[in-house]
Amino acid sequence: MKAIDIGTAPGRPLGGIRTKQALLRKMVSFILRLLNTAGLLLLILIFAMPFVWMLSTSLKTLPETMIFPPEWIPHHPVWSNYIDAWQTGPFLHYLTNSVIISVSILILQMLTIIPASYAFARYKFIGSGFLFGVVMVTLMIPNQLIFLPVYLELSAFKLLNTHLGLILPFASSAFGIFLLRQAFRQISDELLEAARLDQAAEWKIIVRIMVPMVKPVLVTFALFSFIAHWNDYFWPLVMTTNEVARTLPIGIAKIREVEGVGTWNILMAGNVILVAPILVAFFLSQRHIIKAFVYNGVK
C-alpha cells in the first residue's frame, strides 16, 4: 500500500518506482499462486496414485507387474484379468450380498437416525441429555472390542451366516445421529412454528420441511455409511463361516488363496470391481457433499 501512496503524491515524479513496485507485487502474487497450485497438484498426486496404480496393474500381464522401474501404461492391456478375477469365486453372489447388505443398512439407518436426531435436536425430554451422551459414548467403542459379545449374541439367535447378522448390528449409527442432530439444530424455530400454524402434523414437518433442509448432510452421511459397509472386511469375515452371506471384500481377498500370492494383476482387477460402485455413488452425490460442507441455511 505504501508504494501507491508515494507514487500518487502530487509533485513527485516517481512513476518509475511505482511501476517497478507494482511489477514486484504482481510477481510475488504469481509465485504464491504457483506454489499453491503446485501444492494442490502434489496432494492430488498422493491421493490419486494408488488408484492409478491399481488401475494400471489390473491391466498388466503378470511379468509386467514385476518390472522395475514400473511402467504406468501397460503395452497390451489385458482385459481378461477382470474375467479371471470374476471367475475365481461366486462373484455375482458376493456382489448381490454386498448390495443387499449395504443398501439394507443404509435404509435402516435412515429410518432410525432421522427420528432419533430430530428428537435430540428439537425436544427436551427427561434424560435427553443423558441419552445423547450414551449415544456419543458408543462412537468411541471400536468394533474390534465388541465383536465377541455380538458374535455370541448372533449365534444365540442363529443369525450367523445370514444377511440379517451383517445388517442388524449397524441398524443405527451414533455418528449419523450426531451429524444430523447438529444439522437439525441449525434450522430456525420460526420455520417450525410457521409449519405448526400451517396445521402440519409433526411427521409432516419432519418429512416435508426438516429432512429436505438437511438433505446435503443426509446424502453425505449416506455416502460415508455406504462406503464403510461396502468396504467392510472385518465384520463379514468374523460373522460368516461359509459363502452364504459373504461380501465382495472377502471374495477379493480370496483371490489370493485361489490364484496364489503373487498374482497382483488379478487381485487389482478384483479391487477395481470392488471400488467401481463407490466411484459411481460418489459422482452422483458430489454436488450434495460439497453443499454439506459449505452449508449455512437460507437467510
Binding site: 430456525s188 420460526e190 420455520l191 412454528e193 410457521a194 409449519a195 405448526r196 400454524l197 400451517d198 396445521q199 402440519a200 402434523a201 409432516k204 416435508r208 420441511i209 429436505p212 433442509m213 438433505k215 441455511g297 437460507v298
Partner: protein
C-alpha cells in the same frame, strides 16, 4: 373476523415473570398494534395468542371460544414472522399452499386460491421460484400470501417490516393498511417502532415491563398520555419532561404533589411575536436539525435539556432563545409517573393572562 380477549394472562419463563396479570380486549376488525421497547413482552403476548407459547395462567378467548388448549394450527390465526420463515426447500407456490394442503383443500380449489392471492400481492410471475432467489420485499409478500390464503380470523404480524430497507418499509406499510381495509380481518401487529405503530394502528397498546401502559387510539395516545412512559415513548422527538423542582415560575394547583411537567416539542413557541401566557424558558441552542419542512432544536435551559420543533420557519441562528409553552399545553405527572388529570395552573395566572383552557 374475530375479537380477542386476554383475561388476566401471566407468563413466566422459569423463575422470571415476563408478563403479569395482563387484560386486553382486541376489537373485531381492528388493526391493533402492540408497541414497546424490546423485552417488554409484546412478542410473547402475540405468541400466546397464536398458541406458540403457553401462558402460565389466565385465559385467551378468540370470539366465543377459549383457546387455552387449542393447538396453533386450529386457532384459525395466521402469522407473519420477522424473518418470514419461508420454507426454503419449497417453491413460492409450495409455501403458499402448504397450509391448504394440510387442511385437505382439493387441488383445483388450491390452484384457484393460490392464483387469486398471488395476483393480489403481485407474485404471479414468481410462483415456481424458490424463496432464496427473491428479494426481501418479495419474500415479505410470500409470507403475507401464505398467511392470507388461509383466510384466517386473525392476522398476527411480528415486526414484519423490520428486515426491509426504509423505502420498502414505507411502501409495505401502506400496502398493509390497504390490505387490512380490504380484508376487514382483525390484525394484531407487533413493533418496537412507534412511528410504525402510530401510522398503521387504529388501536395502539403501549407496553412496558410486561404490563400495558395504555391502550387507545393513536391520537388519544398522543394528546392524552396516561403516564410518563407513554408520553415519552410516543412522538418524535418524544415529549419533553422536566423535573418539577427544576422548573421555576409555575404555580400549580393539584390535590396530589406534581413530580414532572411535560410538553410536546411542537408546542414550544420560539421567540413568540405576541405575548403568550405560558411557561417561559430561556435557553441556549445546542444543535439544529433541519428536515426541510420542519426544524428540530435541542435547547439547554436551567430546567434541563429539551427539544423544540418548528414548522415552515427559517432556521433560527441565534444562540440564545426564549421559549414559551402555553399553559394549556403542559402535562402534569405525579411523582410515580402517573398523569395528574386534575392539575392545572392557579386561577390568578389565567385571570391575568386572559387565556382560557
Amino acid at each position: 373476523m374475530a375479537q380477542i380477549l386476554l383475561k388476566s394472562i401471566s407468563k413466566k419463563f422459569k423463575d422470571e415473570t415476563v408478563i403479569e396479570d395482563l387484560n386486553l380486549e382486541i376489537k373485531d376488525g381492528s388493526f391493533t398494534v402492540l408497541v414497546g421497547p424490546s423485552g417488554c413482552g409484546k412478542s410473547t403476548t402475540l405468541r400466546m395468542v397464536a398458541g406458540l407459547e403457553k401462558q402460565s395462567s389466565g385465559e385467551i378467548w378468540i370470539d366465543d371460544v377459549c383457546v387455552n388448549d387449542t393447538p396453533p394450527g386450529l386457532r384459525d390465526v395466521a402469522m407473519v414472522f420477522q424473518n418470514y420463515a419461508l420454507y426454503p426447500t419449497m417453491t413460492v407456490r409450495g409455501n403458499i399452499e402448504f397450509g391448504l394442503k394440510n387442511r385437505g383443500v382439493s387441488k383445483s380449489e388450491r390452484g384457484k386460491l393460490v392464483k387469486d392471492i398471488s395476483e393480489i400481492v403481485g407474485l404471479a410471475p414468481y410462483l415456481d421460484k424458490k424463496p432464496q432467489s427473491l428479494s426481501g420485499g418479495q419474500r415479505q409478500r410470500v409470507a403475507l400470501a401464505r398467511a392470507m390464503v388461509k383466510q384466517p380470523k386473525v392476522f398476527i404480524l411480528d415486526e414484519p417490516l423490520s428486515n426491509l430497507d426504509a423505502k420498502l418499509r414505507n411502501q409495505m406499510r401502506t400496502e398493509l393498511i390497504q390490505l387490512h381495509k380490504r380484508l376487514g380481518t382483525t390484525f394484531v401487529y407487533v413493533t418496537h417502532d412507534q412511528v410504525e405503530a402510530m401510522s398503521m394502528g387504529d388501536e395502539i397498546v403501549v407496553m412496558n415491563m410486561g404490563a400495558i401502559q395504555q391502550a387507545d387510539s393513536p391520537m388519544k395516545l398522543y394528546q392524552d398520555p396516561a403516564n410518563l412512559f407513554t408520553a415519552q415513548f410516543i412522538g418524535t422527538p418524544a415529549m419533553n419532561i422536566m423535573n418539577m423542582q427544576e422548573v421555576q415560575g409555575l404555580d400549580i394547583r393539584s390535590d396530589r404533589p406534581v413530580g414532572y411537567v411535560g410538553f410536546r416539542p411542537e408546542q414550544g413557541l420560539m421567540n413568540p411575536a405576541q405575548q403568550v401566557e405560558g411557561l417561559e424558558l430561556k435557553g441556549e441552542i445546542l444543535t439544529r436539525e433541519s428536515l426541510g419542512a420542519e426544524n428540530i432544536y435541542q435547547i439547554r435551559s436551567q430546567a434541563g435539556v429539551f427539544f423544540v420543533k418548528t414548522f415552515l420557519k427559517p432556521l433560527e441562528s441565534a444562540d440564545h432563545v426564549n421559549i414559551t409553552i402555553p399553559y394549556n399545553e403542559l402535562f402534569y405527572f405525579g411523582t410515580d409517573g402517573e398523569r395528574l388529570y386534575g392539575a392545572g395552573i392557579h386561577a390568578r395566572h389565567l385571570a391575568a393572562g386572559g387565556v382560557l383552557i
